[in-house]
Amino acid sequence: MTAIDEQGTSLWQDAWIKLSKNYLALFGLAIIGLLCVVSLLTPWIAPYGYEQQNLLLGATSPSAEHWLGTDIFGRDMLTRIMYGGRVSLTVGFIATAVALVIGVLWGAVAGFVGGRIDAVMMRIVDIMYALPFMIFIVLLMVVFGRNILLLFLAIGAVEWLTMARIVRGQVMALRKQEFIEAAHSLGLSQWTIIRRHIIPNTLGPVIVYTTLTIPSVMLLEAFLSFLGLGIQPPQSSWGLLINYGVETMEEYPWLLIFPGVTLSLTLFALNFLGDGLRDALDPRTSKD
């Protein structure tokens, strides 16, 4: 994704070479790419309309007309999964972006400023780590209604903590490195050092962790939607489709299996891509 921009610098070329040898990661990248394209084009390429019911047809198993079968209202499952994927992926990307912005800013400021401010900021992170966030998100959704914008914020507000720690650690470690000192003694300005040396060197871990945050965010959304506390009908997401599938799984197991497989496959792809990026961009950290 954005990891492999045409920077022309050796770090990124090196990373791309490593990544292109990791077939699992490439497979993950291909799946994610495909999903993004399908989600973007859904309104034009979906085989049926989103709300199109066929009560006479009812629930049917997969067939030539309906590749993944239909639900009890005769709605095409493939169409439902495609539209659900739009919501699931949007939540995944936007909530991760929220976490990314808060986490990077918080961690970078704490790492740069250091001293007492750093201590206070990281103590706040420690305290928030100790809070039972799953419970708080449920609480937020109950108190303020099940609103998709709130869902983004609530999930993003949970996931930024680790990002802040990673960025701070990275910035602190970098500040002490000799090449930064060398840059200082060469008379480079603070801003040039940040732009030329600090940012490119923190980008690796940040990209890796971002890729790994997306699946955990999507999981959280699916979890909430499954409980009925996340995405609300008429909107739909994979978690919600799994929830519906469970209700009728005895008679119509495909209504559970297809959304389930789609969700798992996506999480798989994102995790493989994240692991591959970690090996490629951040050789110092081991796999676990």
Binding site: I135, I257, S286
Partner: protein
Amino acid sequence: MLRFAFYRLLQAIPVLLIVISLTFMLVHSAPGGPFSADKAVPPEVIKALEAQYNLDQPLWQQYVSYLGDVLQGDFGPSFKYPGRDVTELIAAGLPATAELAFYAMLVALVIGVSAGVAAAMRPNTAQDYIPMSAAMIGICMPSFLLGPLLVLVFGIYLEWLPVSGWDDMPGDKILPAITLGTGYAAYIARLSRGGMLEVLSQDYIRTARAKGLSEALVIAKHALRGGLIPVVAFLGPAFAGLLGGSFVVETIFQIPGLGRFYVQAAFNRDYTMILGTTVFFSTLIIVFNLLSDMLAIWLNPKLRQQTRGES
């Protein structure tokens, strides 16, 4: 060590206060009171109910008296189950949840540690790849998907195990425990593999091997202690996750535990119940985090030295 525990306990107090205050504020800023959801109720009745639950007092007064009650272990009356205390409801749901969490943890530790250790013993062979790929599947298979699939296969098609219930039929605890434990087994497998790989490359392991100890003894007597430190440190957060997972698993298998109560309370807008369980869960999680940190320090001589040095 004791000093460390003491400081951590001191740290826990502000965290708990924040939890209680935040939850209290959130719950009381909710649009629509707890009695507004039902059919049209005469205003006098609402007034009487509000007086009964002290909702007519100013907010800070409610907050102070709630704090006082919580310190004495009293979470107040439930809004939705008249005549029952939240404390009573928590006590009713706790045994099932605790048992479920215990079995799930057992599943996770037994499967996870043995898979991780086996993988670390022969890295980059089939003995490594197969359990680690299985672990990846375990991580990507959320409990709300795994549970129904297990029910479908073992409960409905094969009819080997009961599909729901708790303490009704023999074997009705197997599927819930596996459903809840699998994801953690996967994480623990990855953590113990990483930890063991690091320890197995250390000098003292080479010494143990040079003494002529069998590989099994080297692992059991020397490597496990150090190799499992990441797993022990993970137990605290895992416990917090288990509580969250119990929401789903107890709902799927209709287990009368705290998790299901919490989800129901969330739907019913039973505010005192939400408030009470949140405070209760948070206390549990903080205590378990403390225990798992202390255990990890006790296992790791380097960290032990550090905490002594600090104090």
